[in-house]
Symmetry: C2
Subunit: 222 residues, 2 copies
Amino acid sequence: MSPMPPAPSPRPARKRADRYHHGDLRRALLAEAVRTIQKDGVEGVTLRNIGARLGVSRAALYRHFTDKSALLAAVAAEGFRMLRSETDAAFRPAQTPEGFAAMAVAYVRFATEHPSHYRVMFGGYLDRKRRDPELESEGPAAFQVLVDAIVTLQKRGEIVADHPLHVARFVWATVHGVAMLAINGLLMCADEQAVIAVTRYAALRLGSGVGAHAAPAPARDQ
Amino acid sequence: MSPMPPAPSPRPARKRADRYHHGDLRRALLAEAVRTIQKDGVEGVTLRNIGARLGVSRAALYRHFTDKSALLAAVAAEGFRMLRSETDAAFRPAQTPEGFAAMAVAYVRFATEHPSHYRVMFGGYLDRKRRDPELESEGPAAFQVLVDAIVTLQKRGEIVADHPLHVARFVWATVHGVAMLAINGLLMCADEQAVIAVTRYAALRLGSGVGAHAAPAPARDQ
DNA sequence: ACCTGAACACCGTTCAAGT
DNA sequence: ACCTGAACACCGTTCAAGT
């Protein structure tokens, strides 16, 4: 039930106190990467830095990840799992327009509470050509939560009957825009509470934009 | 009238064929930086790369910019001037809700046609602490075009009477979200024409979201 | 099976020196 | 006034070698 599945190969914890530094260096590298981004930004993540902080050499990472960008991809994949879990938890109980607004708030809240993850997920640090399989399934899965919510509300006649994918892209763009501007400090908001206020206003206007009373899009805009 | 003001110190072109490589190395560095981002991304911009392409040493930049990030800040400032010019040109003629939609399309079109500039402007490459004066005036100036358009439409009763700054942040977040997702290839759009279609749908839904018929926000969401 | 240490080809920045 | 060349402290990655 936890959004974080166990490590792919759950080696048993090391049985005797050998000289190797970690029982699960892979997990430690991942956690240290997130910590470092929080402190120094993504550019602060260097193999030397995180290696030193964990007491291993700068080359130790290559036993657990193919390279540095695979480490970042793992951070992003973890982020997509968390994001999916939190947006789903916000909408699932009520499955109403109010739940939809709650999902929007949950989305932005995830970004502001986990800016390190969000920046790696959407900051352009990932090679889209790399085709990391974990990332290619987790990203669309997170988006699917939004599409599903829209389809559910459409069935109940509580949202405009445009193509669900179009509605989803529009709503996603808005919450993504608020999230990105917020964590880059461009929203001129004093604190996270102010960001939530902006998000709730955005959710309100999304509601009047895609609510059931809105006129369906003409064919050319479908 | 051009969005690009002349170089700060318009030295006359070099009079005799001396051994120094450029009459206006500053401008050449800026143009080469943009070209390089287009080809290899921001991480492809290295002083060695662009120096070599211009036939100067890697340290030559320091005669014209305080450091590398000042070069990127200049790219961003140029981008904000172009963005302001193009969004203003889209709204100013009609000053109607249709003109507002045209401004949204112009915004996204700028991002997709100048992804190098847009990425530097909003990709998190700029030190916000650096307080580049050119950037600190050009950025807000571009945002002001949006606020002004909203105030104009509110005066004519063609847009909801919420606080203009709140409406502006909401609209900005949406077009910024579309722009960012588009240039990062996350919108699953085949070509730029498809991106424009997504943008026109978003503009339509922004219209039904903030149109004059929309109920004003309750006080707590102001 | 997991990690190290040295080597390699990069990077931004500084600075004395050149013209 | 403008630029170079060498030096410095970094960076990711590879690979033979260690245990």
